[in-house]
């Protein structure tokens, strides 16, 4: 994205929220303030690690650590007691690679004598000295969103070019802490050309592969020179180069390379660089992985699979209406689609202890996508391992995270049903010993009657909504009219430019069962920001979310009103 547009969007979002000047309420379901650091969660079904479950168990948390787990736990008097009968506790999820809360580094200035054939490392996207913590905002909404989906720890990855910088591991805890578990934990690398189109070197995978080899080899030589200089007299001084210096921990194999890859072809390219140079490797965002499982195992590489799944555009194709040729073609696309859903189970079958990454995924889809993967062969134990212990191992934090055991950091997710159950919702998340509570939606009235309720939902009419954001609450109206089989509507909202309310046309209004979704554009100064809304309609109520692409999503509730003319 054009950085200018990006910056403008931030301003727009800021304006949108700063205009809601509500003071935050004193009671604290957000978990940011707490009465006591001692919490006891009683009578829950506790899965301490994949495959190990305690029924009617209690977890005692004290000052950020797990003090005890079991069926026979003494609860001290100062403890806040949470009755968790019928709830399910799992270790807090760990995100193998994330960009939640990660901002952008300032773009370097193009020098007047810029030569695209030989750009500076910075212009070429080679900035291994950068530390992602320098652009991390632990108050970013994305962190709330992912925590709400059960994530408590993440490896955050700097954005940028082919070697963008060093990652860090953070806990999604209280904002008053830096929340850093480790810094400079891995080197982020991707097949990304130099800035400003393919006209600067390296511009294609050809140049990227060659440039990576060049940088790596010269880092080794630079390191050798520095060591010689340190222990011998009569030598020329080494030329200090910040790219090479920042890569010493990689060539010394102290930290791994976190390589973003797309398909099997890119996996093979990353593996061949690894084979030539011998660095430790974590592959991020793999697909078509079934083609390369043997090679991955041979290289002893770690694997992170995205929680993102593609939209289903093909499985409901009306095959009988297609020609024979198109039927055959469509069948192949359907197979390809199912193949993507099976990636997790392919890794499981191959015995590769992979972890999940949120890269490219939406937080709200986490449980839904896990269920889809489970329908396609992923077992519950492996799913949980990929969310917890496997990522703890990959990130090297297994000593203090990844399971529910005495002495580990108090990170856990508390669900209303087992992990892969259709009804599972997040009720609480404990992150770094802080308790975060979430509203649980009422169960749907009999899942078997979904179709029957189709006709009974009427969305046409006049609605008033409020939306809660970290900066306060916003309100407005929806006016929806039915036209034939489709809907038209208008939404009003607090004008980001200031001065009362603005309105936009509601686009792509769709009602599927009781699920309503639509989007609208917020315009200001010639730019526009797309807001996606989705929610559950139940009688005169809509409860759902309002999502602003990369800025996160916020709860929204609407009530139907008789329109007063």
């Amino acid at each position: 994205m054009n950085p200018k547009i990006q910056a403008f969007k931030y301003v727009l979002v800021l304006a949108l929220f700063l205009s809601f000047q509500n003071i935050k309420a004193q009671s604290d379901p957000s978990g940011e303030k707490r009465v006591t650091g001692t919490i006891a969660i009683k009578n829950a079904t506790i899965t301490t690690t994949p495959g190990k479950t305690i029924t009617n168990g209690t977890i005692l948390i004290k000052n950020g650590l797990i003090e005890a787990v079991g069926t026979n736990v003494n609860i001290p008097r100062e403890a806040q007691v949470i009755l968790a009968d019928s709830l399910f506790i799992y270790p807090g999820f760990i995100d193998g690679a994330s960009t939640a809360g990660v901002g952008k580094f300032a773009d370097p200035e193009k020098p007047s004598n810029y030569n695209p054939a030989n750009p500076s490392d910075e212009m070429a996207g080679i900035t291994p000295w950068r530390n992602v913590m320098d652009v991390y905002d632990n108050k970013n909404n994305q962190i709330y969103d992912w925590r709400k989906s059960g994530f408590t720890i993440a490896q955050i990855v700097p954005e940028g070019g082919m070697i963008s910088g060093k990652t860090a591991v953070v806990v999604f805890g209280n904002q008053s802490s830096t929340n850093i578990l480790s810094q400079n934990s891995a080197l982020a690398v991707r097949f990304q050309g130099a800035r400003g189109s393919s006209r600067a070197y390296p511009g294609t995978p050809l140049g990227i592969m060659a440039k990576f080899r060049d940088v790596y080899k010269n880092t080794e030589l630079s390191s050798r020179h520095s060591k010689l200089f340190a222990s011998n007299a009569g030598l020329n001084r080494p030329e200090i180069n910040k790219t090479y210096e920042a890569l010493y921990p990689v060539v010394d194999k102290n930290i791994p390379v976190l390589f973003e890859v797309s398909d099997d072809i890119e996996i093979r390219r990353a593996l061949s660089l690894q084979k030539e140079n011998g660095f430790r490797l974590i592959l991020v965002g793999v697909s078509n992985v079934e083609k390369v499982t043997n090679e991955i195992k041979a290289a002893n590489a770690n694997v992170l699979l995205s929680l993102k799944l593609p939209d289903d555009k093909v499985t409901k194709a009306k095959m009988e209406e297609l020609s024979e040729e198109m039927q055959a073609r469509t069948k192949r696309i359907q197979d390809a689609y199912h193949n993507i859903l099976k990636q997790a189970s392919f890794l499981e079958e191959a015995g590769i202890p992979f972890g999940f990454t949120s890269m490219g995924a939406k937080s709200g889809d986490t449980f839904k996508n896990l269920r889809v993967m489970a329908e396609n062969g992923l077992t519950e134990n492996t799913a949980l391992a990929a969310l917890t212990i496997n990522n703890a191992n990959i990130l090297g934090i297994q000593k203090f995270a990844g399971t529910l055991e005495k002495g580990k950091l108090a990170n856990m997710v508390i669900l209303t049903a087992p992990l892969l159950d259709e009804e599972a919702q997040v009720k609480h998340v404990v992150a770094d010993g802080f308790m975060y509570d979430y509203e649980v939606k009422a169960k749907k009235n009999g899942s078997g009657e979904k179709n029957g309720s189709n006709g009974s939902v009427a969305i046409d009419g006049f609605w008033e909504y409020t939306s809660d954001t970290p900066a306060g609450s916003s309100s407005g109206t929806l006016e929806i009219k039915k036209e034939g089989d489709s809907y038209k509507g208008t939404i009003t909202y607090d004008n980001p430019a200031g001065g009362g309310q603005a309105s936009s046309e509601m686009k792509n209004i769709s009602l599927s069962g009781t699920n309503l979704s639509f989007s609208f554009d917020v315009a200001a100064g010639g730019m526009s920001l797309v807001v996606n809304v989705s929610g559950e309609v139940s009688g005169d109520q809509i409860s759902g979310n309002l999502s602003l692409s990369e800025f996160g999503s916020f709860p929204m509730n609407a009530t139907k009103k008789p329109k007063s003319f």
Binding site: P116, L206, A298, A336
Partner: protein
């Protein structure tokens, strides 16, 4: 004893490692065919026995047990066609960002899923030279592919025993991309020569620097400081040391002669000129100082520097003793190179053997693989095509194509959908109507803006 066990164990483990797996080799007996050996004449009613990927025996009345036998009575068998200039099965063609990019390797960007490989097989092509584009004076290191379509592993396509080659380019493309596009050298034909000369001179210095360092290392107790490494310059050193064959994109006689002189000056003899539309003007020089010319049959006038050419080019070059091949530079032409070769015969009245050599043994010589492929001889690799008719007949259609004795194409077992993979979301994949365009300038077409489409529509 323990050591032996260890070695055996290690071998076993490595044997099991699929990353080290061998490509498939086949056995087949083709009976009663007219065998066009290219190097040993035409053999009527002859059998060819292939064992484990190698041509074992050529003769009459051959038998073999447990081997697929194909009766090719009335049919013609020729060596697999070799395309000395192609961009099939590549994810990227031009690293068109610097005038010298000898460090980049086409082997890094092989796309094993490219349906173009299967189409080439259907045209009898078993080997193609997957080249870097012509945006840079010195482009990337090319890779010679054997069309073992199907595995999805790029490594399986690489002809491991082929010579190393590299792309050079003269004339309008590098001057447009770098000179006009980025305001750096080369902006003229003189600049292209200077870039190449400077490159070689830098390489000589680079070689000396490393030799000095490596010699210093041999002195006991010495602690020399390692110089910087440059794969770009090391590759140029390898060219100077005769380890790499240059394949140079070129059109005009003056620039061809220029590079011949530069190469003679630097002691380089491994050079093949590609396109070479004015090659007929410098045929004796090409014959004396190069490994030949790889040309189009009858394609020119698609831009200014290539207005002057002739359909007699291949014949004139051949008759002057230049090793000459006809290439495709195109995913479309690669499907009927036997027709393209036929055009050279139509105009220049070459013999059948001379004509078929243009797409078999001659390109093999230019790629440094003539001892392995390019003709039907005992001991050579079994890359073979069976045609229904003489391949220079206008009615010729390839029936079966074999690589290493394995059948990869059979016109009677040719399903509609031979794609190895499809996207999960697109119901109809985009079709590129301009597929027949030459791909030399692939990836840099935005440089054509404002230059007039009719003149620059073609991309080679």
């Amino acid at each position: 004893m323990k050591k032996t066990i260890f070695i055996i164990a290690a071998l076993l483990v490595m044997g099991w490692n699929p990353a080290n797996s061998q490509t498939q080799k086949g056995s087949v007996l083709i009976k009663n065919a007219t065998v066009l050996t290219i190097t040993k004449g035409v053999l009527e009613d002859t059998d060819v026995l292939v064992e484990n990927g190698i041509i074992k025996k050529i003769g009459r009345g051959l038998t073999a047990s447990n081997v697929t036998t194909i009766d090719a009575k009335g049919k013609y068998v020729m060596p697999g066609i070799i395309d000395a200039h192609s961009h099939v099965a590549l994810d990227a063609v031009n690293e068109g960002t610097a005038p010298i990019t000898s460090e980049v390797r086409m082997a890094d960007v092989i796309d094993p899923y490219d349906i173009g490989l299967y189409r080439a097989l259907a045209g009898g092509v078993t080997v193609s030279h997957a080249m870097h584009g012509s945006a840079n004076a010195i482009g990337g290191q090319n890779i010679t592919l054997k069309h073992r379509y199907g595995s999805g592993n790029p490594d399986d396509l690489i002809m491991k025993d082929a010579a190393r080659t590299i792309k050079f380019a003269l004339g309008e493309n590098p001057t447009r991309v770098h000179g006009r596009g980025n305001g750096i050298q080369p902006r003229s034909r003189m600049g292209v020569e200077a870039v190449i000369r400077n490159g070689f001179n830098d390489a000589i210095q680079y070689k000396k620097t490393w030799e000095t360092y490596n010699n210093a290392l041999k002195v006991k107790g010495a602690t020399p400081v390692p110089p910087k490494y440059s794969e770009r310059l090391q590759t140029l050193v390898d060219i100077l040391d005769g380890k790499i064959i240059i394949h140079c994109h070129s059109y005009r006689a003056d620039e061809i002669y220029m590079l011949i002189n530069v190469c003679r000056e630097f002691g380089i003899t491994n050079i093949v000129f590609s396109h070479v539309n004015e090659g007929f003007k410098v045929a004796p020089e090409l014959a004396a100082y190069t490994m030949g010319a790889s040309v189009f049959a009858d394609w020119w006038a698609y831009k200014f520097e290539v207005y002057y050419s002739t359909a007699y080019n291949a014949a004139i070059l051949t008759q002057n003793g230049v090793i000459t091949s006809i290439n495709s530079d195109s995913g479309e032409l690669i499907r009927h190179l036997y027709h393209e070769a036929g055009k050279a015969q139509r105009y220049g009245e070459l013999t059948d053997e001379q004509t078929l050599a243009l797409i078999t043994i001659n390109p093999a010589k230019q790629l440094g693989i003539a001892d392995k492929v390019g003709s039907i001889e005992e001991g050579k690799q079994a890359d073979l095509v069976i045609f229904n008719d003489h391949p220079l007949s206008v009615y010729a259609i390839p029936q079966m194509t074999f690589v290493d004795g394995v059948k990869y194409f059979d016109i009677n077992e040719d399903p509609n959908d031979m794609r190895l993979r499809v996207a999960a979301t697109e119901s109809i994949e985009p079709i590129f109507l301009k597929e027949h365009d030459h791909k030399c300038m692939h990836g840099v077409d935005f440089f054509f803006t404002n230059f007039g489409r009719s003149l620059f529509d073609h991309e080679h």
